[in-house]
Every structure is written in structure tokens, then in C-alpha cells.
């Protein structure tokens, strides 16, 4: 699943021919929008991806034809809605190659997935004197939950380093590991630099010292898919809206023995076995961790998104994006004054850059007025900005619907930004 078909940079990309990008673009209604009278070039998928029609329609259809609350329902709509909803759990298990659908917990976002692990597994198993390891490239979502827990418990947080190219330093990571290490919480792909981290090797090493491993797969799964059994991590989280699904839905995968060892997170309906004022008992995973009415339509929409990317094929998506990345990298590198931030060997289709003599906010504003949507700022990774000694970057992040034309428009807009700002 993770294998990326090699592409030929010289000729643009072979894979792009196989992958009918213009037909794919037809599936995304928003791409027809005009921004300031210019056609939209959407290069902000790293923040949130656009949705194909099938996802929008799945949500629509649910509300219009069979919507009802799920579980415990004795009537037709409730049954139908529960069936469609629960079938997504199996679909996601297959997509991630999880052991079973019971390893798949529905949350409201990956942020919630990570907080859930912190406040259940973490609160139960971490003690003063323990250590956990995160990396310098983490998104705030994989830093702050641990800091909040640290305030409650008092363990140590160690930080694994990158080099100036943005490459993960496996050796210095190894040096941090010790029997005190109880958890490694790390992303498989930096949302700022695009760096792909060697999470399989990291997991193996962490397990050797008896630590559990949580992988923040928010970016990684979108660009390369995942095989959680091959990875062997204990937890893997991702968020629906970045993988072309609705907002308001996230996933937490966990190994069953680990999930079973965890107390509930939130309390409420559905997650209980029996409630009384003299004592309440809880359901087995995954339901133990799903309190209250779940994001029903969002789960169903995510199911449609996962089907969509599966039908296109994650390898084809990866190959297409790698072709774009190589093309963009080539063109941007050739522009005088453009500095690409993050030059790791193994990268997902994310390019952060700066233009010498300009402020990134100005650049992004000029790009915006050319119809080119990028993100600017610290990208919720302030510690990484501090490490790199910069206030922020302009980030162009590619999705499965971008094409070479988008790259050309980006290049032209950068030219305009240089004209206007320097």
C-alpha cells in the first residue's frame, strides 16, 4: 500500500498519464469556483481537503432518505442507518488493514483521537519519572495533549530531532530511548515540511524498550495510505476532513489488548453496559470510547471518501502526487530567491517555502489575489518554526485533484509576488 510507483521527472510524469486527472477533477464541484475572477488553484489540502461529489451526496442522501439515530433502534430507519454506519467501521478497518472493525474507534477529529489516548491510556499508565518521546516536527495536536497530561502527572517529554534539511535523525532518536520510555508519539509525515518519518523502524525500536507507539497519521494516510499491522504501532490516528471526507469525524485505531486495558474517555449514552447510581459498567472496545450520539452522517461521508480514494488506488494517488511534487520542486528551485523549507529525501506532496526579502504573509496574500490558495504561518507547528528559526512559511500542499497547471499557476503567482513585493 505504501509503495510509490517511481516516476520520471524529466518527462513530467508517466504516472500522471495513467491517472486521468482531468476526469478526477470533475468529481470536485468546488474546483469550478472563481476567486477574484480567476479560476481556483487550491493548494491548501494539507489544512483540509475538498470533497468529491460522492462524499457530499452520501451525507445528503443519508439526511434525505434514511436518517435516524443509530444503535438500539427498533424501527426501520434506525436499523438502516445503523447498518450503513457500522459497515463503515469495517471498511476503514480494511483500508488501514486493521485486525478487525473493533479496532476502529470513531472520534470527532484526530485531535480528539490523541487526547483520548492521553487521557485514558496515558492517565492510567504514565507516572512521574516516566518519559515519552515526541518529535520536533509534531503538529500541536500531538504536543499539547501530552503537555496537559504532563501538568497532571509530571512525566518527562523528550524531543526527537531533525537536521536542517528536515530529515528525521534516527540515531539521536535511538539515544533518547531507554527503559524509562513509555510512549513514542510521532507523526508519519510532517504537515509543514512533507518529511516522511521512518515510523516502522521507530516503532520497532520503541517496542524493543517496551514503549507503546502512537502514530499521528493525519498527513501520512492521505498521501500514502497505511498498513497498521505492518507498521505494528499501538495507536494510529487520522482525521476525516483531510482525506476528502466531512469535517467532524476522526479515527483512532488501537491494538485490541491495549484498548481493552483502557478506561473510558467520555461518559454518556452508548458506551455503557449498565448504569446505576450504585455503580456503572462499560462496554467493550470500540464502543467503550464512543459516548453519546456519534457523528452519524460524518461517518457515512467518510465511508464514501475512503471508497473514493480506494477506487482510485492509493498507489496511483501517491504516484500522481509525487509527479506533481517533483515538477513543483524543479520549477520552484529554479526561481531566484525562493527557498524551499524541508528537503528530506522521502517527502509527501507538501512544499513549504519563503521568498528572500519578503514576509510570508505578503506572499500568501499576493498568491491569494492570483486565485492561488496556500496556507501561511506556523501551521500549528510552532516548535518546528522555533527549531528552523523562522516565523512561518508559505505552504503549498497538493491533493489528488491538483494538476501541473496548478503548479504553473503557482509559479506565475510567485513571480507576481516578487514583482510586487521586492
Amino acid at each position: 500500500m505504501n509503495k510509490i510507483v517511481p516516476i520520471d521527472i524529466q518527462s513530467g510524469s508517466n504516472s500522471m498519464d495513467a491517472y486521468d486527472i482531468e476526469r478526477v477533477r470533475e468529481d470536485f464541484p468546488i474546483l469550478k469556483q472563481q476567486i477574484y475572477g480567476k479560476s481556483l488553484v487550491f493548494l491548501d489540502s494539507g489544512a483540509s481537503a475538498q470533497k468529491p461529489q460522492v462524499v457530499i451526496d452520501a451525507v445528503h442522501e443519508c439526511y434525505e432518505t434514511y436518517y435516524s439515530n443509530v444503535h438500539r433502534g427498533a424501527h426501520f430507519l434506525s436499523q438502516k442507518c445503523t447498518d450503513v454506519y457500522e459497515q463503515v467501521r469495517g471498511q476503514i478497518a480494511t483500508f488501514m488493514n486493521a485486525q478487525s472493525e473493533n479496532n476502529v474507534i470513531f472520534t470527532s477529529s484526530v485531535t480528539e483521537s490523541i487526547n483520548l489516548v492521553a487521557q485514558t491510556w496515558g492517565r492510567k499508565f504514565l507516572k512521574k519519572g516516566d518519559q515519552i518521546i515526541v518529535s520536533e516536527v509534531e503538529h500541536h495536536a500531538n504536543i499539547v495533549p501530552w503537555q496537559l497530561l504532563q501538568d497532571q502527572i509530571g512525566f518527562d517529554i523528550k524531543v526527537a530531532k531533525i537536521d536542517d534539511q528536515g530529515e528525521f535523525l534516527l540515531d539521536t532518536f535511538k539515544a533518547l530511548l531507554s527503559p524509562k520510555t513509555k510512549l513514542v508519539a510521532i507523526t508519519d509525515c510532517s504537515n509543514v515540511l512533507g518529511t516522511m518519518l521512518p515510523v516502522k523502524e521507530i516503532t520497532r525500536l520503541a517496542h524493543e524498550v517496551g514503549a507503546k507507539v502512537l502514530v499521528d497519521g493525519t498527513q501520512g494516510i492521505v498521501h500514502n495510505g497505511v498498513d497498521v499491522q505492518d507498521l505494528d504501532c499501538d495507536f494510529y490516528g487520522f482525521t476525516g476532513h483531510k482525506i476528502y471526507g466531512p469535517t467532524g469525524i476522526g479515527i483512532l485505531y488501537g491494538k485490541m489488548d491495549v484498548l481493552k486495558s483502557m478506561p473510558p474517555y467520555q461518559g454518556g449514552g452508548d458506551m455503557i453496559d449498565k448504569v446505576s447510581f450504585s455503580g456503572t459498567t462499560f462496554q467493550e472496545p470500540p464502543y467503550r470510547f464512543e459516548a453519546g450520539t456519534p457523528p452519524i452522517a460524518q461517518v457515512i461521508g467518510l465511508g464514501a471518501a475512503i471508497k473514493y480514494v480506494s477506487d482510485l488506488g492509493m498507489e496511483n494517488i501517491s504516484a500522481h502526487e509525487q509527479g506533481l511534487l517533483a515538477y513543483a520542486n524543479e520549477l520552484l528551485s529554479a526561481i531566484e530567491g525562493v527557498q524551499i523549507i524541508g528537503q528530506a529525501k522521502d517527502k509527501a506532496a507538501i512544499i513549504s517555502f519563503l521568498i528572500e526579502g519578503t514576509h510570508p504573509f505578503d506572499v500568501a496574500a499576493v498568491l491569494d489575489r492570483q486565485g492561488v490558495a496556500t496556507r501561511v504561518g506556523h501551521h500549528c507547528a510552532e516548535p518546528l518554526m522555533d527549531r528552523l528559526g523562522i516565523v512561518g512559511t508559505v505552504r503549498a500542499s497538493f491533493g489528488l485533484y491538483n494538476n501541473k497547471d496548478d503548479v504553473d499557476r503557482l509559479v506565475a503567482a510567485i513571480g507576481r509576488a516578487k514583482e510586487l513585493l521586492i
Binding site: T358, F361, D362, A365, D368, R369, V376, V391, L420, L421
Partner: protein, 149 residues
């Protein structure tokens, strides 16, 4: 009520004459570019003068002479520098009372539709800051902040 200061009129007229949003946007950049480093020396770019909550850094100063407020400002981003220059220029030379009469309409007349809402909100915040400076009779951003607590 519209005629505030000659500077204000100049900016409003200039922007009104441009009927293309892209060009209005570029006009603001030009204003920003014209602000020289020495107009707001490094010595003023200090934390007490720093406005909070902006995407780029913004420093603002208020100098009171003869009961009138003279604002100046700076930013590390050109567009914001242009906006700060326009705002400071437009509303400088007013008394406390005159400042209190300013409304969001005065900012809106500057015709800044080319800006994102967030930036427009930023301009309104700047206007509020000017008014607060007026009420406080000057001081620094940091002092305004601690007063409001």
C-alpha cells in the same frame, strides 16, 4: 463628518478612483513600500508597542502634542505596513473627542474591499486602539492593555 483629516481624504479619494480590486490591493502594497525603516526606528519596535493577535507583528505609537494625537506604526509585512500607515496617517492630528466620534464607517469609506475580512477586522481593532489612546491621553499599547484589565 466624513472629512476627518486631509490625509484621510487623500487616501479615500485615491482608492475611490481605482475601480479594480487588484489595483487597490497593489496601491496598499505601494503605500507599505514607501514606509522606510527610519520612519519607525528599530528602537520603537519593542514589546510595549506591539499589538496583540496579528498574523504579522504590528507596532503602534501615539505621540500627543497640543492635545492632539499623532499615530505612527510599523509591521514586518508590507501589506500590513501599508494599512498601518494609512490608518495612522488618516487619523492623526485629532483630539480625544474627535477620535471618539470615529466609527467603523470611516474605516469602511477607505474602500478596503480588496482585503480579507480578517484584515478588515484588524483595521477595526486598530481604530478601537486609536480611540483608547485618545481616552488614555496617550501611553503605550502595553499600558492600554493593562488598563483594560
Amino acid at each position: 463628518m466624513n472629512s476627518i483629516t486631509p490625509q484621510y481624504e487623500d487616501y479615500a479619494d485615491a482608492l475611490e478612483m481605482i475601480d479594480d480590486e487588484d489595483m487597490r490591493f497593489e496601491y496598499i502594497i505601494d503605500v507599505g513600500k514607501k514606509v522606510k525603516d527610519e520612519d519607525f526606528p528599530e528602537a520603537l519596535r519593542i514589546d510595549p508597542n506591539l499589538m496583540h493577535g496579528c498574523m504579522s507583528r504590528v507596532w503602534l505609537c501615539d505621540e500627543v502634542r497640543d492635545g492632539k494625537h499623532y499615530f505612527s506604526g510599523f509591521s514586518d509585512a508590507i501589506i500590513v505596513k501599508g494599512l498601518v500607515a494609512m490608518m495612522a496617517g488618516s487619523f492623526s492630528g485629532l483630539t480625544t473627542d474627535q477620535l471618539q466620534e470615529l466609527t467603523t464607517g470611516h474605516v469602511r469609506r477607505l474602500n478596503l474591499g480588496a482585503l480579507t475580512t480578517q484584515r478588515q477586522v484588524g483595521m477595526m481593532a486598530m481604530l478601537e486602539t486609536f480611540k483608547k489612546f485618545g481616552l488614555a491621553g496617550g501611553g503605550t499599547i502595553a499600558q492600554l492593555r493593562s488598563d483594560s484589565v
